[in-house]
């Protein structure tokens, strides 16, 4: 995968590749992403850990971005 923003070429294994090519560009909390990708299947802790690891490796490669959102008293993020 070639990233025009950084000029880097990345070699992705299946799960990170799937995530990188199907994320829709909107911010979403972790939990929601897991359920979106798992679908009707219940994920055990190991599978979820794999998912998180994939997200982390994508972030290190600058292919995805994460941010800490704090809910303020007004209920906004």
């Amino acid at each position: 995968m070639f990233d025009p923003a950084t000029g880097e070429t990345h070699f992705l294994s299946e799960l990170p590749a799937l995530i990188a090519t199907t994320l829709d560009g909107e911010w979403a909390p972790h939990a929601e992403l897991v359920t979106r990708y798992a679908g009707p299947v219940e994920l055990d802790a190991a599978a979820e850990a794999q998912f998180v690891a994939a997200l982390t490796s994508l972030e290190r490669a600058e292919l995805v971005e994460s941010r800490l959102f704090v809910t303020d008293p007004g209920g906004r993020h």
């Binding site: 025009p4 923003a5 950084t6 000029g7």
Partner: protein
């Protein structure tokens, strides 16, 4: 007048060139860092067929290289902008990287070695610490004298580079050193600044069009060495002509701004050099108004002669060009610093241990 200058003034002259002219032209263009500019001029003027295919291939090679450094510069800008946004430090892009971020005409061809950025004076320490904490580091060993020179005299911090990348970041808080005779009111720059963004989420400020030209003028003519400066003169001409086309009353606004910021002398040097060397297009009224700020009498001609020797030498590596560079070197430091400081600085530079020569590169074969 060398072939490169003739071409830059009037590209059509190349329609009649033979092998001899092209052979003389290429090394001049390469040494001036203008290969990309020349390719775009050939394209704009329908001269691609008149030029030898081999020459076009060489120019294309240079442009490929330029696209890469441009991409890396924008990448670095995005990374720094992200940190500054988090720290709530206003950030303004300068020179080459600003032309890219703002999509100005030089983004089609301009090479750049590092990125120049401006932050408010009161935020520069915080900005520096944030970058150091996020993986940037000093780009070389700077002794306490260098630190003093950069921070106290040049108002910038010594260049930084991220540990994973190669693009140098120069963080400034003003455009001209406070010890020089030119004193620019930085607050005024910020007031007039404009915001630009790009497709990858970048948001950054750039100088207003008149300030972009004034910065070019101050940087080129109040600089350590004019060597390599022909590219800056080309930028000045291209940007001036672009802004004059798209902004109403641009010449008046530039004159007013120059007066306000106290940049009339460097503006005179920039305009007169661009006009005499590169046939800058401007109204006679504008040229006369600028000319009013020329230095008196013989100094005016001497400076024009010096600049021409350095910026447009007849052949590369001419000894006269070295002498002119030395005169200009002393002059530009005199402009920057009071005489006592100048002597100390020049002495330090003379006696500082030289960097070892570059090792022979590993070549294929």
């Amino acid at each position: 007048m060398n072939l490169l200058i003739r071409f830059l003034r009037e590209p059509q002259v190349a329609a009649d060139w033979g092998a001899e002219q092209w052979n003389a032209f290429l090394p001049l263009a390469r040494s001036a860092g203008l290969l990309g500019r020349c390719l775009s001029l050939l394209e704009q003027h329908g001269l691609l067929d008149a030029a030898p295919q081999r020459l076009v291939d060489q120019l294309q090679g240079a442009v490929n290289q330029t696209r890469y450094v441009q991409g890396q510069a924008m990448r670095e800008l995005r990374a720094v902008a992200g940190i500054m946004a988090r720290e709530k430090v206003p950030l303004l892009a300068l020179k080459g990287v600003a032309y890219l971020a703002a999509g100005l005409p030089p983004s089609g061809w301009r090479n750049l070695g590092d990125i120049d950025l401006l932050v408010p004076e009161q935020d520069i320490d915080r900005a520096e610490h944030a970058l150091l904490a996020a993986g940037w580091m000093a780009s070389a060993e700077f002794d306490s004298y260098d630190q003093h020179y950069y921070r106290d005299w040049m108002h910038e911090i010594p260049p930084l580079v991220h540990r994973d990348r190669q693009t140098e970041v120069d963080l400034h808080h003003n455009l001209a050193p406070p010890v020089s005779r030119i004193r620019i009111d930085a607050a005024s720059l910020w007031e007039q600044a404009e915001t630009v963004s790009d497709a990858y989420g970048l948001t950054v400020q750039v100088l207003s069009p008149p300030d972009i030209l004034l910065h070019n003028a101050v940087h080129l003519f109040m600089n350590d060495e004019l060597r390599g400066g022909l590219r800056d003169v080309v930028d000045f001409r291209d940007l001036f002509e672009h802004f004059a086309r798209v902004t109403p009353d641009f010449e008046q606004r530039l004159l007013a701004r120059s007066r306000l910021l106290g940049c009339d002398r460097p503006l005179y040097y920039a305009v007169s050099t661009a006009h005499s060397l590169l046939w800058l297009t401007a109204s006679p009224e504008f040229l006369a108004a600028v000319d009013a700020h020329a230095p008196a009498g013989p100094k005016k001609n001497l400076m024009a002669w010096l600049f021409e020797q350095v910026l447009a030498p007849q052949r590369l590596s001419l000894r006269r060009s070295d002498l002119s560079n030395q005169l200009l070197f002393v002059r530009s430091h005199w402009v920057r610093m009071p005489p006592t400081m100048l002597l100390r600085h020049l002495l330090h530079k003379l006696f500082k241990p030289r960097k070892p020569p570059l090792p022979t590169e590993e070549l294929p074969g």
